[in-house]
């Protein structure tokens, strides 16, 4: 499919997703080279348009753009655009007038990147770097990339020069645990993992699952211990829980949450010996994830961070280098 912007994980079909992961494998090799830079986006300008603080994500995108030799403008517009007196339309048209070639958007409101991409205010490709409680598609891609590497070895892409596609995640079972309702990471991951052929199991208290989750391409369980025994997952992805949620009666308190849905040392032990532990960060140690799990050799948390740059390089390259030629 011709991808013009990356707004949602549902923009990616299997072929495009695998192509991006394969591309990311090539991008990952750049970090080991004498010159850690490719000239592919020389002369292009990428704007990081962040309406919400996220140093980690911004730095990851910035590093990715710079490794592709793009010029990077960081545009921090914290808070609602309306309260600032400047509408999203004005911001978009300003960027269009500057002649930017790509816009990476982080926004506290679900759908803001869609609006930027579809309202006709600017033509540059838009990359959703996290919008409200909607999606965070590059996070899902980097999670898939990380999983593919540990499940299939490095590099997991097709043989050099043959044009063959790399592997997907068919046959893998991934369990996503925690606050699915408020998680853009979970929404993007359910879709991407499904697209790549993995089975997804969501485990959470019913209060932290969206109404209508039955319509998603995954299974849903409330009891983590039973789910671990039932599915013997290849990986568990622990979602960050915001403790303020207990004041809104999503769960009684942190202690009960940890006891029922935290990845304790005992639950880590109950997982299959070759299961991997993932977390999009930043972690609440001792709440949704125990130190034993976070620091275990099975934890992929730092791999996820490291792989973020390669995946974002692949995404930027894919979106900013013109139309699909085949």
């Amino acid at each position: 499919m011709a991808l013009t912007s990356l707004l949602s994980a549902s923009d990616l079909d299997r072929r495009t997703a695998v192509e991006l992961l394969d591309l990311a494998e090539e991008m990952a090799t750049v970090a080991g080279r004498e010159v850690k830079k490719l000239p592919a986006l020389r002369g292009r300008t990428v704007v990081n348009l962040f309406f919400e603080d996220s140093t980690r994500t911004r730095i990851s995108f910035e590093a990715a753009a710079k490794r592709l030799s793009a010029d990077v403008i960081n545009f921090a517009a914290k808070g609602s655009s309306v309260s600032k007196g400047e509408s999203l339309q004005d911001t978009a048209q300003t960027l269009a007038a500057m002649g930017v070639d790509g816009v990476v958007v982080r926004h506290p409101g679900s759908g803001a990147p869609h609006r930027l991409a579809q309202a006709g205010w600017l033509e540059a490709p838009i990359i959703n770097a996290g919008d409200g409680t909607h999606e965070h598609p590059t996070q899902a891609l980097l999670d898939a990339f990380t999983l593919r590497r540990v499940l299939h070895g490095e590099p997991a892409s097709g043989a050099a020069g043959t044009g063959a596609d790399g592997k997907d995640l068919a046959g893998a079972t991934v369990m996503i645990v925690g606050d699915v309702l408020h998680s853009r990471v979970a929404r993007s991951n359910v879709r991407t993992l499904h697209t790549l052929g993995a089975s997804v199991v969501l485990v959470a208290p019913a209060t932290l699952l969206p109404w209508g989750v039955e319509s998603w391409p995954c299974q849903v369980r409330y009891d983590l211990d039973e789910a671990i025994a039932e599915f013997a997952p290849d990986a568990v992805m622990m979602l960050r829980i915001q403790l303020e949620r207990m004041h809104q009666a999503f769960f009684p308190n942190a202690r009960e949450y940890t006891r029922l849905w935290g990845l304790s040392a005992a639950r880590l032990h109950a997982l299959p010996a070759d299961a991997w532990v993932m977390h999009p960060g930043p972690m609440n140690r001792g709440v949704e994830i125990s130190a034993a799990a976070a620091d275990s050799p099975r934890a992929l948390v730092l791999d996820q961070v490291a792989n973020g740059v390669a995946v974002r390089m692949a995404t930027l390259y894919h979106l900013l280098t013109g139309e699909d030629s085949h």
Binding site: E26, P39, A160, G161, G163, T321, G322, D324, S325
Partner: protein
């Protein structure tokens, strides 16, 4: 459209053998030699050259000699020509620093690909010398670039197309054997 074969399988094999000998002669043996194929068809050609060299020089392992060098990211026409598929870059374990690197491609035309390859190479390390081997040189250079080893010099019209078909990359329907074809041009 008129189409004619200018090199057949037998002639291609002979050209590869001759180039292998030339490379060895110029390098005074196989030591510190690296053959990097430029995807797509430079890669199998580099491998064939390495195998031929291993056949001539006992003790040489063709695998350790060859690699591939993807140049997509270094092209100067990324915006204009549309997105291209990126191929793997693989470098022999010994690296390229202080080696004699022979870039291998199927057709030498404008020279733009080779310019990109030189940039790509510079990002990977610092060879002692870089040489260029091509199966076909069809002329029409736009850069001050020449090949050190040429399978066949082929005068062509700019409007003609030169296609190389190799067993490793093109063995699909109707493939009868390695060949180089010219399509189009004046009657």
């Amino acid at each position: 459209m008129r189409q004619r074969t200018v090199l057949d399988e037998h002639e291609i094999t002979r050209a590869v053998t001759r180039i292998a000998h030339e490379i060895l002669e110029h390098n005074k043996g196989p030591q510190d030699l690296v053959l990097l194929g430029i995807p797509t068809r430079g890669v199998p050609l580099a491998r064939r050259l390495a195998e031929r060299i291993a056949g001539i020089e006992p003790g040489v392992d063709a695998e350790e000699l060859t690699g591939s060098l993807d140049i997509t990211m270094y092209r100067d026409d990324l915006r204009r020509s549309g997105r291209r598929k990126v191929h793997a870059t693989s470098i022999p374990a010994a690296g390229i620093d202080d080696k004699t690197v022979v870039l291998v491609d199927d057709v030498l035309f404008s020279g733009r690909s080779i310019r990109a390859a030189l940039d790509a190479l510079a990002a990977l390390g610092r060879p002692r010398a870089v040489r260029l081997a091509v199966l076909v040189d069809r002329g029409h250079r736009q850069y001050p670039i020449r090949a050190d080893h040429v399978g066949k010099n082929l005068p062509t019209a700019a409007s003609e197309r030169v296609d190389v078909r190799l067993r490793e990359t093109d063995a699909a329907d109707g493939f009868t054997g390695d060949e180089v074809l010219i399509t189009g041009g004046e009657e």
